[in-house]
Point group: D2
Chain length 240, copies 4
Amino acid sequence: MIKVTVWNEYGEKQKREEVAKVYPAGIHAAIAEFLDKEKDIEVKTSTLQDDERGLSQALLDGTDVLIYWAHCYHDKVSFEDSARVVDAVNRGMGVIFLHSAHKAKPFTGLLGTSGYLEWREAAEKERLFVTEPGHEIAAGLPLHFEIEHEEMYGEPFDIPNPEATVFIGWYKGGNVFRSGVCYTRGRGRVFYFQPGHETYGNYYLPNIQRVIVNAVRWASPRTHASERNSCPNVAPLEEI
Amino acid sequence: MIKVTVWNEYGEKQKREEVAKVYPAGIHAAIAEFLDKEKDIEVKTSTLQDDERGLSQALLDGTDVLIYWAHCYHDKVSFEDSARVVDAVNRGMGVIFLHSAHKAKPFTGLLGTSGYLEWREAAEKERLFVTEPGHEIAAGLPLHFEIEHEEMYGEPFDIPNPEATVFIGWYKGGNVFRSGVCYTRGRGRVFYFQPGHETYGNYYLPNIQRVIVNAVRWASPRTHASERNSCPNVAPLEEI
Amino acid sequence: MIKVTVWNEYGEKQKREEVAKVYPAGIHAAIAEFLDKEKDIEVKTSTLQDDERGLSQALLDGTDVLIYWAHCYHDKVSFEDSARVVDAVNRGMGVIFLHSAHKAKPFTGLLGTSGYLEWREAAEKERLFVTEPGHEIAAGLPLHFEIEHEEMYGEPFDIPNPEATVFIGWYKGGNVFRSGVCYTRGRGRVFYFQPGHETYGNYYLPNIQRVIVNAVRWASPRTHASERNSCPNVAPLEEI
Amino acid sequence: MIKVTVWNEYGEKQKREEVAKVYPAGIHAAIAEFLDKEKDIEVKTSTLQDDERGLSQALLDGTDVLIYWAHCYHDKVSFEDSARVVDAVNRGMGVIFLHSAHKAKPFTGLLGTSGYLEWREAAEKERLFVTEPGHEIAAGLPLHFEIEHEEMYGEPFDIPNPEATVFIGWYKGGNVFRSGVCYTRGRGRVFYFQPGHETYGNYYLPNIQRVIVNAVRWASPRTHASERNSCPNVAPLEEI
């Protein structure tokens, strides 16, 4: 079983009417719901209002893959909170950052870049192209598929050169975006996925759910060679 | 001085009226013309009709950066011809593949992939986005610029994960493409650039010329640590 | 079941007494023997003496992962033979190159570099360090392990920057080597592993066998998004 | 002129007799001294005792390349201090981390990994191999060179897969290490270089100085395409 925690900031702005109408129990609940149908996945949720901003050491220790949605309250997560997430990933936990998490501290802390991008909230069409058709995260998807209404996120996107760019998005309004990108950090895997503006309901779309399920499996911890030590002082292996 | 050779297949199909009307002396001549205006660049041209398909050892030995345009005659360049180009790159020569060179033997021989892509010849608009604004090849360019008429090349593009993706293209007809990508092979640098269909005249556009000039400088050989040997049998450096 | 084909040149030089004493039925037979014990692996062998140098289209079409050992007869494999292997990898077949395959045509054809390195045949000690402890190919291994006698392969090794460097080797005689490196080419995965000189019997070592078994699983084809077409001419997705 | 700032923690532990005997005015002064001889480099120094831990916004704004040596006082540099360095790199400043800076906050903040490694202080021999002979940082160096006494840093080194591994170190005591590695973060370049224990005087060695001078030139800001904005809200480029 892959133990997934879906984290959502879920502050006041995520509870206002126009969001609640789309995601009555929050985006985290909607994501947990479709993940829960997968036989190899066990899911719980967490929010900014929980202990230690919902990112406590105990919670991270019991998580194989963390899904992270955030937008308005990045500053409520401290550098120390973020450092716990980064350390968990370095030890093997997978993490999936969704949409506006591009400026979340754990995202920029794992990537080392600003996450800056251009944006436009115009409910325009996005078409996602699979650029790595052999990648696990693209399994079962058509070579391109559409989202009728999405917030535009456009290049340049300030991220390190991805280890794999699985999706590139085309926008009706004339922009492009690296919409699905992969990284390894220590023993853990990181995936960023662009779709998911809070008022458009795209987490109900089958293709989007397929991407997230695939990404959970891809990011789940791989078998480890051995325990990790901090910085051990070691004896010589040969005569000096 | 950077010694550039512009290679063009320039067979019968590249001399027919609708091409000649746009590039009267061939695409190679048009590219050579704007490169020749740069004070640090010295340029010559070569075609399939020259000695050893215009890719002789002597020519490669005297070339710092090879620019390669091809479309209809990939099969006229043999595996042996291609191997000379690959070896020259491995020893430090830069190479810039343009447009339909995505299926040229030296391109697939350096990248190890098929170069497959989707295409459409519909004179549609392409908008190029700079995705790595700090990259040398993007120097002096706006963050995005348009080409009024270009052949569409679309994802998935079968290439290894690029070392840098400098440009991504948006097409009016609904597709996207990694239009400018960088690789290192041995001591040499490789750049692929999408624009350049033979009947649209895009090599006359200032932004396109700027990209190619920048790429020539980027791909020109860097100072080497030492001479390269084949596979030397070496003595131990320590007592065994 | 993962269908593995172990290919060995197995020419006269690989049948001479000092090799036959170590690998009586050839290196391919020794590798096939330990792979055959794995429940998820089905194995066959092939050599240069078989149809189309043992690399026929039919054989490749029925192979999930190809293991390739070669040393003295690289020139017997033609560019056309090699192109079939490269194409099979691009379509999803995994490939594991062992030891002196660093100059085999399919290896250089997939990587685009010369594969040059320094070498010394002095039966010296190599110690392999795991540099990516979270990688699937390192699963179940200690963080470092020794091989009592191995041919030294030393840096600089002319390969593209690896997508993952899983092992780095230390040699008693004073050299180092990137002994285990990973690449993706199209939909297929490529692994190169240094140990395996024909007169030292290292394919009988449990740790070496563990690496190869792990690599077979890692390189086995992943689920694909869809069928691959060559270069399809496609209709617009939006009004132009 | 490339404006270099050499930053050294230079706390009490770096002023004690056994260090002062080797670097009377501190490691920063020794590095500044040889850099100052280069005609294209203008150098100043800074330490933990200066304003805002010697990493003020004003200082970073006037720096093209920051050289960073630290060991005992990583915790004196706050997350906020580190964030200023990361942001400066994202905007184009180069940074060179030396030796024990592998656990400095700006290093782990740019890379997103722990920087963990194995170590041994035994004044043993290290031999550095050039693994990318065409790389600018290897210019003018032999393919391998020795350091008589260095602290051993050994694999596994918890860093993301490097964009280039320019040096790998061999240690007499039986270990290996990726001793010189490169990254891009935003518009800036990052280089880590292993040698430099404070009691061995290796910054006086010509080859080590050559590496650092080369790295300063490589990491100096490249021409930028345009100004960087934070996250601009942009108008459509096409009719939606």
